[in-house]
């Protein structure tokens, strides 16, 4: 620029600003510390902490798709639980087909069977997500009340279809032998499946962060969450992006359904709608549309549920709601609110 140029200066953020931004990251370690102080016994604390992390990460898998769908498309999808249930039933069917592998003592065959079940579930729920978006969600973009009504309707239809295809009874879903039993750390017994769930959840979180932070499609999603109109003005067809994200969110719910089904070892048509209360709590705590917030919220919910179930079983059920109220009193938009363009 000419003589009128302004010299830009880089100003470091103040310690108070940095602390404000990083504070939510400290919540899970602080909660774990408080849990340790309250429980007193190291082995029990370790068992409960791993159980809490596993539960939290499975909820994160189911909630991540919902939060991105809400953030990008401003769609409140009460039908998300249907994808969890369908995913679990498809996973069960594949695992039943692969009974030779799931009952084999060979670890690789067990893991391969679970991997194929997950893959099939994600493919089916992603495909159903495509139809769900086109038929049920697309006509009600911008109308929240209608979205709640039609997606609830979609959930009921999906549950009834599950009854038609797989029957109305609860189905027992056994884990492959290599995911049964526990690993002993000192005096603590940690279930193998919980370690598996933690690993899957962490890999998924890292993968999602990578996609959102380092790929063009991720940039578009993040930009679209903030200002979809401007994304269109830059030449991108945001409706295609909506569809892609909805399918991905549905597929993640399907993955969550398989993981949750194997965790509970019982699947029902209503399992998705039952877990949706916790999923919504996590999405609200995290800040609608925020993957990082959703991740922290899920860890908090998982850890708190397990600690409270041990320390005070009677208040365990309300503890997650109390957590949500506490977080919203501190940060009314959630831990990491996504800034929406006005």
């Amino acid at each position: 620029m000419s003589s009128t140029a302004i010299r830009p200066k880089l100003v470091a953020a103040s310690p108070a600003e940095r602390l404000k931004s990083a504070a939510p990251l400290l919540l899970a370690p602080v909660l774990a510390g408080l849990g340790f102080a309250a429980i007193g016994d190291g082995a029990t604390w370790l068992t409960l902490t791993v159980a809490g992390l596993a539960m939290g990460l499975m909820i994160f898998i189911m909630a991540s798709g919902l939060t991105v769908v809400f953030g990008l498309m401003d769609v409140i999808n009460f039908g998300h639980g249907a994808f969890v249930s369908v995913g679990a039933f498809v996973g069960f069917t594949v695992l039943a087909w692969l009974a030779g592998w799931t009952q084999s003592p060979v670890v690789m065959l067990n893991l391969l069977a679970v991997f194929l079940a997950i893959l099939a579930s994600m493919a089916v729920t992603g495909g159903i997500g495509l139809m769900f978006e086109r038929v049920i969600v697309a006509p009600v973009y911008g109308h929240h009340l209608k979205q709640i009504l039609v997606t609830m309707g979609g959930l009921i239809v999906a549950q009834q279809l599950i009854h038609v295809i797989w029957g109305p009874d609860a189905i027992h879903l056994s884990r492959p032998p290599s995911l049964q039993g526990a690993v002993i750390f000192g005096e603590a017994a940690i279930e193998k499946y919980r370690l598996f769930a933690v690993a899957v959840g962490l890999v998924l979180f890292v993968g999602m962060r990578h996609v959102l932070r380092s790929t063009r499609i991720g940039l578009l999603v993040r930009a679209g969450v903030e200002n979809g109109e401007m994304v269109e003005a830059l030449g991108y067809r945001i409706r295609r992006l909506f569809l892609l994200v909805f399918m991905a969110g549905s597929a993640l719910a399907g993955l969550g359904g398989v993981m949750w089904g194997l965790y509970q070892e019982t699947i029902t048509a209503h399992m998705g709608s039952e877990i949706m209360v916790l999923v919504f709590v996590v999405v609200i705590i995290g800040g609608l549309g925020s993957i990082e917030g959703c991740f922290i919220g899920a860890l908090l919910v998982g850890l708190l549920s397990n600690y409270m179930a041990f320390l005070a079983p009677k208040v365990a059920l309300v503890s997650t709601i109390a957590l949500m109220v506490g977080v919203l009193m501190w940060r009314p938009q959630g831990l990491y609110p996504v800034v929406k363009a006005k």
Binding site: M1, R216, N227, E232, G235
Partner: protein, 241 residues
């Protein structure tokens, strides 16, 4: 007769129950800067949004570079060669400055030469490249918004009040930058209330009131005629200098 790049003929736009544009006729010649003036609420921003397809005109036609574009989707209009700098700047504050620029290069890669030119034009783009755009000042956000619009060669750039809310020094810097941009023969349709900036950049001018164009001519003619300014705007534009 001038080569007309953009032509609006009898454009009406409704927003909900409000009839905002009431038959806009506007011609933007190829090359140079056309300025759209008018008081708040006259319909200037709605005109730009209607051109971009962000509001769909209920009546009338919009022709761009020989093709009719009203009724087309916003991405299709953008890809036809129109860039848009909205009044609120439309910055993605969660993305870094570099990521904002990357997305703006819709064809894929940024041309290194063009990027160097932009960084020279707007030094904060280089300085804050890796910073979240939400941490920039108002003036720097405006520079980023204009930079995004010019990261690829465009036939027409629509800029909505680039001086709004900026300090005088930043406005001078922005005016200098837009003047350099003008020298590249990029066509600009500029909505502006700062008459000093409009006068120094504009070749042609149209004045809007109540959703219609009430005057169209050269900027030199309007700038030299304070009576005309008084009549068109209700008060002398010189007051706003």
């Amino acid at each position: 007769m001038a080569d007309i790049l953009l032509r609006l003929a009898g454009v009406h736009t409704h927003i909900g129950p409000y009839h905002i544009l009431q038959g806009v006729d506007l011609e933007v010649p190829r090359g140079g800067v056309s300025v759209l003036l008018g008081r708040n609420g006259a319909g200037k921003s709605t005109t730009l949004r209607s051109i971009m397809g962000l509001w769909t005109p209920s009546e009338g036609e919009i022709h761009f570079d020989g093709a009719r574009i009203d009724g087309q989707s916003t991405p299709a209009i953008s890809r036809a060669g129109i860039a848009y700098v909205p009044e609120n700047m439309g910055i993605f504050s969660d993305l870094t400055v570099g990521e904002n620029m990357t997305l703006a290069a819709a064809s894929g890669k940024m041309d290194p030469q063009r990027l160097s030119w932009i960084k020279e034009l707007f030094p904060p783009i280089a300085t804050f490249w890796d910073r979240p755009a939400g941490t920039l000042s108002g003036g720097q956000k405006q520079m980023l918004s204009v930079s995004r619009a010019i990261i690829e060669p465009r036939k027409l750039i629509l800029i909505d009040e680039p001086s709004k809310g900026l300090a005088p020094a930043i406005i001078r810097a922005m005016t200098d930058a837009l003047r350099q941009l003008k020298e590249t023969e990029t066509t600009i349709l500029l909505v502006e209330q700062n008459f000093q900036m409009a006068k120094s950049l504009g070749d042609t001018v149209a004045v809007m009131d109540d959703g219609r164009i009430v005057h169209a001519g050269t900027m030199a003619e309007l700038a030299a005629d304070s009576d005309l300014q008084e009549r068109l705007m209700g008060l002398s534009l010189e007051v706003h200098q």
